[in-house]
């Protein structure tokens, strides 16, 4: 489980002045392994053996702690699901009404067996998204889940929580990923719409979180025209509104004459951008709201004409500044481009390791 980068990091931290030997390194490693043994990275997710509970498991389990509602983190079929009320509402919408939901609000805590205390703290990723703080015998571990530091009118902002181990995501863990301010991207979208009154501006955005954030930011930018929705977006937008996130005048695309959509902004899931559904739109101009749009070839591969660099994940600067700010003893990296973040930790003399978790789909951001 120990990666190369991790060993290098321990060396840097433990013996910054030179003298070291095999035995010392092994001793240090052994100490590190012994610490935090009550939380175990398994391929299917993070496991708490003493509580027999999993965090964001990729398969149905008895007890699941869920950070947020995206499908790769929140799967159906668990016996007991512990999450924020908003995440439970999102899961209920996606998987039908589920038994065994246990709501824990931000700042509230819950005691699991094995003396493990669990509390939820805002992650700023999507509505209801949480970091999970796990405490046992004075040791504090934060699982960030997916998070971002950039402002988002549709969810509570990320709150840094002090801890011994920071288990962080690394979806955009390469220094090329620096998300510009969303106001700049929204201004580009509005300008393109103004310049193309005959074309239908088709914006691909993930149905949970991204779509509502784009709509809310359009509203903040003073855009109050109706925004049209692909069928797959409607229910989630309605749920956001029920949970107190106003989104303005939203209308379904279904049933409208084609010509009515010329010059309008239409939101759809990314998969619909280049498929049969989009053929019915009048001269569509395809935009895509995603952090991956930073890289030109990524945008080209998707036939995107207007790439909007809008992400609900932390960019490189947010990832590294969060590690510095939280200042944990160890950083564990769950999923994404962990190599570069490990390298950064080594360069900054921070012990770090990559966890090989499976099943998180960072591509669909």
């Amino acid at each position: 489980m120990w990666g190369k980068g991790a060993s290098a990091a321990f060396f840097l931290v433990s013996f910054p002045h030179g003298h070291w030997n095999e035995a010392q390194t092994m001793r240090i490693d052994a100490v590190m392994v012994a610490d935090f043994a009550w939380i175990r990275p398994e391929p299917q997710g993070l496991y708490l053996p003493e509580a027999d509970a999993w965090i964001d498991p990729s398969h149905p389990v008895g007890t699941a702690l869920v950070t947020h509602g995206h499908a790769d983190h929140a799967r159906g079929g668990h016996g007991r699901t512990i999450a924020t009320p908003e995440t439970l509402a999102i899961m209920a919408l996606r998987y039908g009404v589920a038994e065994g939901g246990q709501a824990v609000g931000y700042g509230e805590s819950l005691l699991l067996s094995g003396g493990i205390r669990v509390s939820f703290h805002p992650a700023g990723h999507v509505l209801g998204s949480a970091q999970i703080l796990l405490e046992q015998a004075g040791e504090r571990v934060i699982v960030t889940g997916d998070y971002k530091r950039a402002p988002d009118p549709t969810c509570a902002p990320f709150q840094p929580v002090s801890c011994d181990v920071l288990i962080t995501e690394a979806t955009f863990g390469l220094p090329v990923f620096r998300h510009p301010p969303i106001t700049q991207e929204i201004a580009r979208l509005i300008a393109v719409r103004t310049a193309n009154p005959e074309r239908c501006i088709l914006v691909g955005a993930y149905a949970l979180g991204k779509a509502q954030r784009v709509i809310a930011e359009l509203r903040r930018a003073g855009y109050h025209d109706p925004i049209y929705l692909h069928g797959a977006m409607e229910r989630m937008c309605r749920l956001y509104e029920e949970l107190g996130v106003p989104l303005g005048d939203l209308r379904p695309v279904a049933g409208l004459p084609r010509a009515a959509l010329a010059g309008q902004i239409v939101l759809c899931p990314p998969s619909a951008l280049n498929d049969r559904w989009s053929r019915a739109m009048p001269d569509p101009l395809t935009a895509m709201a995603s952090g991956w749009m930073r890289v030109r070839q990524r945008a080209r591969q998707r036939n995107v004409e207007l790439p909007l660099i809008i992400s609900d994940h932390a960019d490189w600067d947010e990832l590294t500044s969060t590690i510095s700010e939280v200042d944990p003893e160890q950083t564990w990296i769950t999923h994404g481009r962990e190599d570069a973040l490990l390298r950064w930790c080594a360069l900054h003399q921070r012990p770090a390791r990559a966890l090989a978790l499976v099943g998180y789909d960072d591509e669909s951001e």
Binding site: L174, P175, V176, N274, D275, V295, Q297, R300, E305
Partner: protein
């Protein structure tokens, strides 16, 4: 630089030719001199800073960014200029004003390998990520954004409402930032004069001959060879070889270029020696043989010896400083035949006129020409002047009948632009033996045209209903649909598992009537190999 950066960005994301033309035309019209001239030079490969290479950029970034983080990023992004533009650390404090394109050119001009990194760094510090990307592309001379020099010239013509043939004619002999060219296009100055330089003259092109017969008293027939159409020009002690788009390909063909030292401009087919095409001793090899000589910046002595190039001449445009283009074809042909003895016979020969008495005889000769791997027949009006572009009624190309083979649809990929929602790129295969005895299909080619819009809809529906696997944008089908595929020729190829490569394959008919196991076998296709 911001406008150029915005243009580069927009070009990257615009797929249609029409869209790209409009973007470049708008830029050229709305941007003041001399920036637009430098950008036009960048788009047409007319700008070079010898001291700035991709390695300069890599070395420079290594002074600012950790090498491991650079390598991981470069691997992911796949493009040095883009990676560097994203990783370049923004300078702290007051941000200086962005340089204009002309200022960037001035700063990089005349740099040495020692001074180039500092000059580049100073410019990068004044730009945002998109600006840095555009600057690095400009500085390293590798735009690679899918714009040909020809497209840029068409855009120039469109921007100012002038004829592209005139743009091409006046282009040569001019140098960036092309102020006289812009002044001429804007109507504020007369057309620039090429002077005593080996300038490019726009090609005369032909229309396809469709279902008509021509009177051979009025039209001369000659072979259309399967090489690449070139123009070779000598003036002022210099020789240049131009491809059909006006690109200077002299560097790849020093053997041909060095062989002309008279003030002539000749039109012909560039070919490589071999004994397959044309039947004459020392005739032309296949297009395949020519292909290994194309697209090179330099050429090795070994390749020069193995695949010597020559030009089979069709026409003469300028002789002894005299422009012959207004003369009728018969007179130009006579001049061409008369000057031939003065040329190196190893590098120049004459494309023969086909001695057919009438059109029927010509048709017969053409039908028999298949084995000679000739592309077809050209028919030229005997009294036609040499005029740029495609003029109705003057020149016709009469291509060979295509070869046909029945193949099975194997994979389909979504197209781009207005076809982006349709599976419109089709990979098809032939059986590698008896399909009833367990033979498999091997891919033999790919085609994305030849069908109507209605057929495309039907093919798209077929692919969706018969998908057995998906690989990203590609779908594998259940191999139930037969295409009759038309193609111009087929060649042996080591790069393809099937061992064959088709030229210009297109879907000729959709054979819903034919079961897949009755499609052709690979051996049938191999038997059609011409070389």
């Amino acid at each position: 630089m911001e406008r150029f950066a915005a243009l580069m960005d927009a070009l990257v994301y615009t797929r249609s030719r029409k869209g790209k033309l409009a973007l470049i035309a708008d830029y050229l019209r709305e941007t003041p001199d001399p920036d637009r001239g430098w950008v036009l030079a960048a788009l047409t490969d007319g700008i070079d800073f010898p001291a700035v290479k991709a390695s300069t950029v890599r070395a420079l970034i290594a002074t600012r960014v950790d090498p491991v983080l650079w390598a991981l990023s470069r691997d992911y992004v796949g493009d040095t200029a883009e990676t560097a533009s994203l990783l370049w650390p923004e300078p702290p404090g007051a941000c200086m004003s962005a340089p204009s394109v002309a200022q960037a050119v001035a700063a990089l001009h005349d740099t040495t390998r020692q001074s180039a990194p500092a000059a580049l760094a100073e410019l990068l510090d004044r730009l945002d990520a998109n600006g840095r990307y555009a600057l690095i592309k400009l500085a390293t001379g590798a735009l690679r954004i899918g714009i040909s020099a020809r497209l840029a010239k068409v855009a120039f013509a469109q921007a100012f409402g002038v004829a592209v043939e005139e743009v091409e004619e006046y282009w040569h002999g001019q140098s960036p930032p092309y102020r006289p060219l812009f002044d001429w296009a804007l109507g504020v100055a007369p057309a620039p004069h090429a002077g005593d330089t080996p300038a490019f003259r726009p090609f005369m092109l032909s229309h396809p001959l469709e279902e008509e017969t021509l009177d051979l008293a009025a039209f001369a027939a000659e072979w259309k060879w399967d090489g690449i159409r070139v123009q070779i020009a000598h003036a002022g002690g210099q020789t240049r070889l131009y491809s059909r788009g006006g690109d200077d390909i002299s560097a790849a063909f020093p053997d041909v270029v060095d062989a002309l030292d008279e003030p002539l401009v000749l039109d012909g087919e560039l070919l490589v020696r071999g004994n397959h095409q044309g039947g004459q001793a020392g005739g032309a090899a296949s297009f395949n043989a020519l292909q290994q000589r194309l697209g090179r910046k330099t050429v090795s002595r070994k390749l020069l010896a193995e695949a010597p190039a020559f030009v089979r001449l069709y026409d003469v445009l300028v002789a002894d400083g005299e422009d012959l283009r207004a003369l009728p074809w018969t007179e130009r042909r006579a001049r061409l035949e008369a000057l031939l003895p003065r040329l190196d016979p190893a590098r120049f020969d004459l494309s023969a006129v086909i001695p057919a008495r009438d059109f029927d005889e010509l048709a017969e000769i053409r039908a028999q020409a298949r084995s000679d791997a000739i592309e077809g027949v050209m028919l030229k009006r005997r009294d036609s002047p040499y005029v740029a572009g495609r003029r109705a009624g003057l020149w016709y190309k009469w291509k060979r009948e295509p070869l046909l083979i029945d193949c099975v649809l194997m994979y389909a990929q979504r197209g781009s632009g207005k076809r982006s929602s349709f599976y419109s790129d089709f990979t098809f295969g032939c059986w590698n033996g008896d399909p009833d005895a367990g033979a498999e299909l091997l891919p033999v080619g790919k085609a994305y045209f030849g069908f109507t819009d209605a057929e495309l809809k039907m093919l798209d529906a077929h692919v969706r209903a018969h998908t057995v696997a998906k690989f990203g944008p590609v779908r594998e089908t259940d191999k139930s649909l037969v295409f009759e595929v038309a193609f111009d020729s087929v060649h042996a190829s080591k790069r393809h598992k099937s061992g064959v490569a088709m030229r210009f394959p297109r879907i000729s008919r959709i054979r819903t009537d034919k079961p897949a196991h009755e499609a052709d076998r690979l051996e049938t296709l191999r038997a059609m190999i011409a070389d």
